[in-house]
C-alpha cells in the first residue's frame, strides 16, 4: 500500500464527513466565484452598452451650442477617406397629445442618410416630418409607428444666450411629426455620447429639417466618425485645420469688417485675426441706453470703441467723437460733456445700469466713412428688426422713449454708431467674458482674401472653438472597464456567507480530524513522523479543497445568475439598468476556484496544526477534544481584554451623552464594537474557566450546561462568534441605511436646507428672485409662491459622476453655485476639506484661485472617492470656453448631498471661464415644507414650456441613498443567509456532538435520568449557544445604534432586520431540534456496550 492509496482509502472511508466538508467548500467557493463573476458581468454589460450606444462610431466631435458647416463633415471625409457623419443634437420636450404623456429630457438628433452607415442594422431613417423614436421613448409616451408626436425643441441660436443684449425669450420651436419607426437599443435607439448605462430618450428627425427648424441652415453641432482602426483622433483634429473655414467658428467677413455670429469675438480668436492681419483694427460696438446732456437725451444708440485716430491724434480716455446727427439731436458742440448710460453684467449676473461721462472732442458728418453700419454686431432680435419697436433684446427697452426721429435713423442708418470712444476705454467699461471685440476692421485693400483667411485659420486652434474629436469608443470602453467594481463589492457583501462556509468547513474538518485523533496517535506510535501524518491529512483536505474549488467555481455560475437576477430586479436601484448580462470568464472561474482552494487549505491547515499539537498519549487516548492539559496561556489576557473593552465601552457611552449630536453616533458605534469584542473575549475566558473545573458545580442543571459548552470550547466559541458577528453586522448595517425623511429644514443636511430641486430642459435665464423676474415668469401672481427663494445654478454639461452611473467618469457635469448664499445659510456639511480652508466659511474657498487656470471645486466625497477615484487636492482637466486648459482642483468633499454626481465651482468663476454656460437649468427652491406639494405643482405648471420637473430635495437625496441602501440590503440578506448557513453548520456540529456523546447520554439513562430531562438538558445546552450568540451581537449593536434609535427622524428597518433575526432564530431552533429528536428516537443503551 502506498501513500496515495492510503489517502484515497481514507477519503472513501470517511466519505460522509468528507462530503459535508466538500459541501462547505462548494458553498464558499460558489459565493466567492459568483461575486467575482458579477464584477465581470457588470463590466462586460457596460462594454456591451457602450458598443450598442455607439454602433460603429469611434470618434465624435460635439460642440453643443456652437455650430459649424455640415459640409465640414464631407470635406473631412474626403480628406481622411473616412466616413464622417454630420448630425445635430438638441434637447427637447416630447409630448403625446392623445394621452398627455410627456418626457422632459428628450434628445432630438438630426441625422442624414450617412447616419445609417454607423449601425450594422439601423432602423429606417426618418424622412421629412417623420421621427424615429427609441424604444424607451415610445414606451413611455405610449406611441407606436404611425402615431404623431409633438416635439418642443430647444433652439440654441448662434450667439450665446448669456451674452449681453441677447433676447431673453423662450427659445424653442414646436413641431408635430409622425412616428416612422421605433428603434431598438441595438438599432441606434440607444445612441448617446455620454458614458452612462441609463438609456437616453432619443428622437431622430432629418438633419435638414432640424437645421431648418432651429434656423441653423446648413449647420450642425456634431460629427461622428465611422469605425476606422487605422487612424487616431489626432488625424481628424489635424485634418480639421486643413479644411475648415472661418464660418466654422462663427466668423464672417462683410465688406471690410470681420464679424461674428456670437456678438463678441472671443479673445484668442480676435488676437489670432489681428496677428494674421497686422493692419486690422479691433472694434467694440455697444448698445447704450441713453446719451444725455442737460436734460436732453437720445435713447438706445450704438457707440463704437476703436483705436482709429480719425484726425491723427488718438482719443483720450474721456473723449468722444460724435456724429453730426447726434450733435444736432442733443444740441451740443465740441468740448461739451455727454453722459452715456448702459447696461453691464453685474457680479450677481444681472444687468445693471452704469454710466460714464465723456467730453466731445470732435463732431463728424454722418457721411464720414467711419460711420459704417457694418460695425454693429449681429445682435439677435435687433439686427434683423424692421423698426426699433420690434427690438427684442435681453435688456429692458422702454419703447416709450423711442421717438419718431429714432425710428427714422434706424430705417435709414440701421445700427450705424452715433459716436466713437477709445478702444481701451470701451473695453474697460463694457468688459465681459465673451470677448473684447465685436468686429475687426480690415483694410479695404487686403489682397487675396482666401489666402488671408487661411493665414487667420492657421493662427487659431480648432479646440479653442470646441472643434475636437474625442475617441469616444475608447473612452467608453475605458469608462466601462474602470466601472464600479461589483466583484469586490459583492465579495464584501457576501462576506458572511463565505465566512460562514469557511467556518463550517473548518469546523467539519476539525471534527473529522479530532474523530481520527486516535488514528493519528497510532500512526505516530507506528513511527510516522508528524509531517508525514500532516501531509496525509492535508492531502486528503487538498483533494477535497480542489474538488470543492472546481465544483464551487462551476456552481458560482449559478450563484452569479441568482445575484444578477437580484441586480436586474430586486436590487435594480444599485445599477439603474436591467441590462446586466452574465459574462463567464475562464480566468475568473480559475481565480474563484484557486481562491476557494487556497482559503480552504489555509483554514484547514491552521485547524490541523492546532489539533496536531496534542501529545501522543492524549491522541492515543482519543481525547483531543477536551481542553488541553496545560492551562491556556492566553486565558488571562482574554479575561483582561474582556474587562478592558467592556469598561472602555461604558466609559465611551458615558462620555458620549454630553457631546454634541454629531459626535454621538461615532462614539456609540465605537462603544458597541468594543462591547462586542469584550463580550466574545469574556465568553472565551468564561468557557476556559468553566472548562477548568472549579467555580461552577456540575451538580446543578446550568452547571452541566456550562461544563458541556466548555468541553469543546473552540466549537462553542466559533458558533457563538459567528452568530454574534452576524447579528451585530445585520443590525448595524440596518442602522446605516440612509434616510432622508425630515431633513429639509436643516441646512447642514444633505438637502442643504432646500425644499425642492427643479430641473428644466430649457434654461431659465430670468433672475427669479428679482421683482422683474417674478413678474416676467408669472411667479408674482401666484400667492402660493410668495416668499420663496430660488437658488439658480449654471452648468457645464458632462457625465453623471453619481453612484447612479456605474461607469468611471473623467469629466463630470460642473455646476456654478453662488457661494455667498451657501455661505450665508451655512449649507451642507463637509466630509473633508483641503488644507487652509476656513472651516467656518468653506464655501468662500471656491471664490479664490491660487493660480490662473486652476480653480477650486467641491464634490460629494463619495463622488471623489468612488466616482472619480480621486482625493482632495487632485485635479481634473477641462477646457474653458475659449479652449484653454482648465485645472479643476478638488478642494473639499461634501457629506452625502443632493449635488452628488457634479462638481461645484463658484458661479463667478464659471461665468469667467464658461460665459456661455447654460443659465439655470437647475433651480433649488427654499420654502415652507407645508406648501411643498402646491409649490411643486405651480412651478411645474408655470415652467411647463421649459420642461421643468420639480422633485422634493429629500426625494433626490433618497434616490442617491437608495443605491447605498440597496447595497446594505444585499449585505443584510446575504449576511442573514450567511448566519443561517452558520446555524446549519451549528446543527451539523450538534449532530456530531450528540453522536460523540451517545455513551454519555446512555449513561444518564442508566443512572435513572428520565429521557425528558436529558432532552431538556441538551436543548438548553444548544439554546445557550444560540441565544448567547444572538445576545452577544444584539446588545453591542443596540448600544452602537443608540443615537439612531432615539432620533425622531430616523426610520430603522425593523421589519427587515427582525425578520432576518427571527429567521436565524428559527433556523437555529430547527437545527437544534432535528438532530435531538432523531437521536432520541434511537435506543441509546447499546451505546454503552460499545464502551
Amino acid at each position: 500500500m502506498d501513500q496515495l492509496r492510503l489517502i484515497i482509502r481514507n477519503l472513501c472511508f470517511f466519505r460522509k464527513a468528507n462530503l459535508t466538508i466538500l459541501a462547505g467548500v462548494i458553498i464558499g467557493t460558489s459565493v466567492l466565484t459568483g461575486a467575482l463573476i458579477v464584477g465581470d458581468s457588470v463590466r462586460y454589460s457596460l462594454q456591451q452598452i457602450t458598443k450598442i450606444r455607439l454602433g460603429k462610431i469611434r470618434f465624435a466631435l460635439s460642440t453643443e451650442d456652437r455650430f459649424f458647416r455640415q459640409d465640414l463633415a464631407e470635406e473631412l471625409s474626403r480628406k481622411t477617406r473616412s466616413d464622417v457623419v454630420p448630425a445635430m443634437e438638441s434637447e427637447a420636450i416630447a409630448i403625446n397629445s392623445d394621452n398627455n404623456q410627456r418626457i422632459n429630457q428628450v434628445h432630438v438628433i438630426g441625422i442624414n442618410d450617412h447616419f445609417g452607415y454607423i449601425w450594422d442594422n439601423p432602423a429606417c431613417l426618418p424622412r421629412l416630418n417623420e421621427a424615429i423614436l427609441s424604444r424607451n421613448t415610445a414606451e413611455k409616451l405610449g406611441l407606436k409607428t404611425g402615431d404623431r408626436i409633438l416635439l418642443r425643441i430647444y433652439k440654441p441660436g448662434k450667439a450665446s444666450p448669456n451674452a449681453p443684449f441677447v433676447a431673453d425669450k423662450l427659445v424653442s420651436v414646436s413641431k408635430r411629426v409622425r412616428v416612422a419607426a421605433i428603434a431598438d437599443d441595438n438599432r441606434m435607439g440607444r445612441f448617446s455620447l455620454k458614458n452612462n448605462q441609463v438609456p437616453p430618450f432619443n428622437v431622430f428627425i432629418p438633419l435638414t429639417q432640424m437645421a431648418d427648424l432651429l434656423e441653423l441652415d446648413g449647420l450642425s453641432n456634431m460629427m461622428l466618425v465611422n469605425d476606422n482602426d487605422s487612424v487616431s483622433a489626432w488625424t481628424f483634429n489635424e485634418a480639421i485645420k486643413r479644411v475648415w473655414k472661418m464660418e466654422d467658428i462663427g466668423l464672417k467677413k462683410e465688406h471690410s469688417v470681420i464679424l461674428t455670429d456670437r456678438i463678441f469675438i472671443s479673445d484668442p480668436v480676435a488676437h489670432a485675426v489681428l496677428s494674421a492681419i497686422p493692419e486690422g483694427e479691433g472694434i467694440l460696438t455697444y448698445l447704450v441706453n441713453s446719451i444725455s446732456v442737460r436734460g436732453r437725451s437720445t435713447p438706445y444708440s450704438f457707440i463704437t470703441a476703436q483705436d482709429d485716430t480719425f484726425s491723427g491724434q488718438p482719443l483720450a480716455g474721456n473723449e468722444i467723437l460724435i456724429s453730426s446727427w447726434l450733435a444736432e439731436d442733443l444740441r451740443v458742440k465740441t468740448g461739451d460733456s455727454l453722459m452715456l448710460r448702459y447696461f453691464i453684467i453685474s457680479n450677481a449676473n444681472t444687468l445693471a445700469e452704469d454710466s460714464s461721462v465723456f467730453i466731445i472732442r470732435k463732431i463728424l458728418p454722418l457721411e464720414n466713412a467711419h460711420f459704417d453700419r457694418d460695425l454693429m454686431p449681429a445682435f439677435p432680435g435687433i439686427s434683423d428688426a424692421e423698426s426699433c419697436r420690434d427690438w427684442e433684446t435681453g435688456s429692458p427697452v422702454d419703447l416709450r422713449r423711442i421717438r419718431k426721429k429714432d425710428e427714422q435713423y434706424w430705417n435709414q442708418y440701421r445700427g450705424t454708431p452715433k459716436g466713437f470712444i477709445a478702444l481701451k476705454t470701451g473695453q474697460k467699461i463694457w468688459k465681459n467674458p465673451f470677448g473684447s471685440y465685436t468686429a475687426i476692421r480690415i483694410p479695404h485693400d487686403t489682397p487675396n482674401w482666401p489666402a488671408t483667411e487661411k493665414i487667420i485659420l492657421t493662427k487659431i486652434q480648432p479646440i479653442e472653438s470646441g472643434l475636437i474629436f474625442r475617441p469616444v469608443r475608447d473612452e467608453g470602453m475605458y469608462a466601462a472597464s474602470q466601472s464600479t467594481d461589483f466583484g469586490t463589492l459583492f465579495l464584501s457583501l457576501g462576506f458572511f456567507i463565505i465566512l460562514a462556509a469557511l467556518l463550517l468547513t473548518s469546523l467539519l474538518f476539525a471534527l473529522q480530524v479530532t474523530t481520527r485523533t486516535r488514528e493519528t496517535g497510532i500512526l505516530t506510535i507506528l513511527g510516522f513522523r508528524k509531517d508525514q501524518i500532516r501531509n496525509i491529512l492535508l492531502s486528503e483536505a487538498a483533494i477535497i479543497a480542489v474538488l470543492g474549488g472546481i465544483m464551487g467555481s462551476i456552481a458560482g455560475i449559478g450563484c452569479n445568475k441568482l445575484l444578477l437576477l437580484g441586480l436586474n430586479t430586486l436590487w435594480r436601484d444599485a445599477v439603474r439598468t436591467s441590462s446586466i448580462v452574465p459574462c463567464v470568464d475562464l480566468i475568473t472561474l480559475l481565480t474563484g476556484a484557486l481562491s476557494g482552494i487556497a482559503i480552504t487549505l489555509v483554514s484547514l491547515s491552521l485547524t490541523l496544526n492546532r489539533i496536531l499539537r496534542k501529545s501522543i498519549v492524549q491522541m492515543i487516548k482519543g481525547n483531543a477534544l477536551v481542553s488541553p492539559d496545560k492551562k491556556h496561556p492566553w486565558k488571562k489576557i482574554h479575561g483582561a481584554l474582556a474587562l478592558l473593552f467592556t469598561l472602555l465601552a461604558f466609559v465611551i457611552i458615558a462620555l458620549a451623552f454630553p457631546f454634541q449630536q454629531g459626535t454621538n453616533p461615532v462614539l456609540f458605534m465605537s462603544a458597541g464594537f468594543l462591547l462586542l469584542i469584550g463580550g466574545i473575549a469574556g465568553l472565551n475566558y468564561g468557557l476556559d474557566n468553566v472548562g477548568g473545573g472549579p467555580g461552577i458545580s456540575s451538580d446543578r442543571f446550568y452547571g452541566i450546561i456550562l461544563k458541556n459548552a466548555a468541553l469543546n470550547r473552540h466549537r462553542t466559541l466559533a458558533a457563538i462568534t459567528l452568530l454574534a458577528l452576524g447579528t451585530f453586522s445585520i443590525i448595524i448595517t440596518g442602522a446605516n441605511r440612509k434616510t432622508a425623511g425630515n431633513e429639509t429644514s436643516d441646512p447642514c443636511s444633505g438637502t442643504g436646507g432646500f425644499l425642492l430641486w427643479a430641473e428644466s430642459t430649457f434654461p431659465v435665464r430670468t433672475c427669479l428672485n428679482s421683482p422683474e423676474g417674478k413678474q416676467k415668469e408669472g411667479l408674482a401672481d401666484e400667492p402660493e409662491l410668495k416668499g420663496l427663494h430660488y437658488f439658480q445654478v449654471r452648468q457645464i454639461d458632462g457625465d453623471d459622476a453619481s453612484c447612479l452611473n456605474l461607469n468611471q467618469v473623467s469629466q463630470p457635469k460642473v455646476l456654478g453655485v453662488r457661494t455667498d448664499y451657501l455661505d450665508k445659510i451655512k449649507a451642507f456639511s463637509f466630509a473633508s476639506l483641503g488644507r487652509g480652508i476656513d472651516q467656518a466659511h468653506p464655501w468662500k474657498a471656491l471664490d479664490s484661485i491660487s493660480s490662473p487656470g486652476v480653480i477650486p471645486a467641491f464634490a460629494d466625497q463619495t463622488v471623489i472617492t468612488w466616482g472619480l477615484r480621486k482625493k482632495i487636492g487632485d485635479t481634473l482637466v477641462y477646457r474653458s470656453e475659449s479652449g484653454e486648459k482648465l485645472y479643476i482642483r478638488l478642494a473639499g468633499g461634501l457629506d452625502n448631498s443632493i449635488f452628488q454626481g457634479n462638481l461645484l465651482i463658484s458661479d463667478s468663476l464659471m461665468r469667467f471661464y464658461f460665459p456661455s454656460a447654460n443659465s439655470s437649468k437647475i433651480i433649488l427652491v427654499n420654502g415652507p415644507e407645508s406648501k411643498k406639494e402646491i409649490i411643486t405643482t405651480r412651478l411645474e405648471y408655470l415652467f411647463r414650456d421649459r420642461g421643468m420637473m420639480v422633485t422634493p430635495a429629500t426625494e433626490r437625496l433618497a434616490a442617491f441613498n437608495s443605491v447605498e441602501n440597496t447595497y446594505l440590503s444585499v449585505f443584510i440578506i446575504l449576511g442573514g443567509l450567511g448566519v443561517i448557513l452558520g446555524t446549519f453548520g451549528m446543527g451539523i456540529v450538534l449532530l456530531r456532538n450528540l453522536y460523540e456523546r451517545k455513551q454519555e447520554l446512555a449513561l444518564y439513562l442508566v443512572l435513572g435520568f428520565r429521557k425528558n430531562f436529558i432532552l431538556k438538558l441538551l436543548i438548553a445546552e444548544h439554546l445557550f449557544i444560540l441565544f448567547t450568540g444572538i445576545l452577544l451581537g444584539l446588545i453591542p449593536a443596540l448600544a452602537g445604534i443608540f443615537p439612531s434609535l432615539v432620533s425622531p427622524v430616523y426610520q430603522f428597518p425593523w421589519i427587515t432586520v427582525l425578520s432576518i433575526l427571527l429567521l436565524i432564530l428559527l433556523s437555529g431552533l430547527v437545527c437544534v431540534g432535528i438532530p435531538l429528536l432523531s437521536l432520541f428516537k434511537r435506543d441509546l443503551i447499546p451505546a454503552l456496550r460499545s464502551e
Partner: protein, 246 residues
Amino acid sequence: MKTVNMPVIAELQHITKTFYHIQYPASSIQHPASRPQHPVLNDLSLIVRRNESIAIVGPSGSGKTTLLNILGTLDKPTSGEVILEGQPVLKMDDDQLAELRNSRIGFVFQLHYLLPQFTLIENVLLPVLPTRDKARQSAAHERAWNLINKVGLTLQAHQRPAELSVGECQRAAVVRALINQPVLLLADEPTGSLDAENATMLASLLNDLKLETELSMVVVTHSMDLAEKMDTIYRLQSGNLAVFDK
C-alpha cells in the same frame, strides 16, 4: 532462559515522572502552583536485555503505562535517562524518535487500534509506509504474509477489522508491531480485552515470537497468567520496581 550475558537493548536510568495532582474539592479552589506534586515514577531504573521478556505488574494507577510510554519514547520523564541500543533517546528530536519507533520498537495495546478503513494486511503493512527503502518494503511484504500465516490469519488478510473478532484483531496488532523487525516489543495489557482462550493464545504467540526472533519484550499486565510466561516479573509500587517472585 538466562539472558544476563546478553547485550542490553534498553535501559531506564533513575527515571522520575511527576504529574500535577489535580483535585478540585467543591468547597475550595487552589492555585495550581500550590498543589502537592505526586511522583508516579520515583528514581526508577530498569535494564532490558536481548531476548529477555519482562512483565510489569502492579495496581491501577501505579504508573505501569507511564513507564511503558517512557520506554517507548511516547512520553518523556521529568528526570532521568532512557537508553535504547546504547543511544540516549531524550536528546533526539521528534523525527529521530519517529524513525526509532518505526524501526526498533513494536507496540501492542489493550485495544488493537487497527484502522477501520484498511484491511488486515494493509493495517499490518502500515508501519512500512514511512520508509522509502524499496527493498525493505518488499521484504516487509513477504514477512507480513509469513507472520499472518503464522498467527493463522491468512484467510482474514483482506478483511477489515470490523469483520474480525477481537482476538483476531489483537493477533493482527501483534503482527503489525513486528513487521519492521523491532528489537523491543512493548505491550500494554495485550490480553486485557480478550477472553481467556484468546488471552492464552496471545500469550503463547508472544512467547513463540520471542524465542524465534530474539526479541526483547516488556509487557504491562494485570494478568498473572501472562506475567508468568515472562522471564522476569517486576512489581511497580510507590514509583519503583521490585522483583516479583514467581
